[in-house]
Symmetry: C2
């Protein structure tokens, strides 16, 4: 498995996702202080272009630079404050999800055909 390559791709996806979360934070803040601007930013952000965080910011910088700068500041804050807890959270989540999937699958199998279980040694571990 090409771990470095997968890590780089995952890092890029995560950066874009934090940009999306930063936009949501800014929209929520604006809805308290400047509702029309919140509506504008929301409209600007729902067109699918936010999938590519950098391109989105580039366009936002052209349209409303103060909002783009604010989103950039917020995503940097988010990165500083939530990234450190993520490895443990995700590892626990995947471990728990795998256990649940195996358990539910075992339950479905035992409901349908108990004899099939004998051919599935992975479940015993």
């Amino acid at each position: 498995m090409d771990y470095p390559h997968i890590a780089r791709q995952t890092s890029r996806v995560l950066s874009s996702y934090l940009t999306y979360q930063a936009v949501r934070v800014v929209v929520a803040q604006l809805s308290q202080t400047d509702p029309p601007l919140a509506i504008w930013l929301n409209g600007f952000s729902v067109t699918g272009k936010i999938q590519d965080g950098e391109r989105y910011l580039e366009e936002l910088l052209r349209e409303r630079q103060e909002l783009a700068l604010r989103v950039m500041t917020v995503r940097e804050h988010l990165a500083e404050n939530i990234l450190d807890v993520l490895p443990e959270m995700v590892q626990a989540e995947i471990h728990q999800a795998n256990t649940q999937q195996r358990k539910h699958h075992l339950e479905r199998l035992t409901q349908v055909a108990p004899s099939e279980l004998a051919s599935w040694p992975e479940l015993e571990s």
Copy 2:
């Protein structure tokens, strides 16, 4: 900012993304050892349902349990091997992207109207 809530959402997105990457790893492995099965898994996985990793695995467990178990094992390996490097990578990536965005925006501004810069003190820092 509700950091714990954003961290939980990000963790869920990351788990799903690692499931997607695990599927890609298994497809690549199968294309060497069992091409028809690789094609089957690819077809099963491109229909958009992989967006929700757990639901996808639930269906795959019903259709081809050995493949689902393999994807689950691979995503656990991925989590163990790439998550620890992610916080630093993503933080560096966002910091670098922010610097680039500010730089390019400054370049665009100076090309268009140098006088506008005076009203943008954020760029000086």
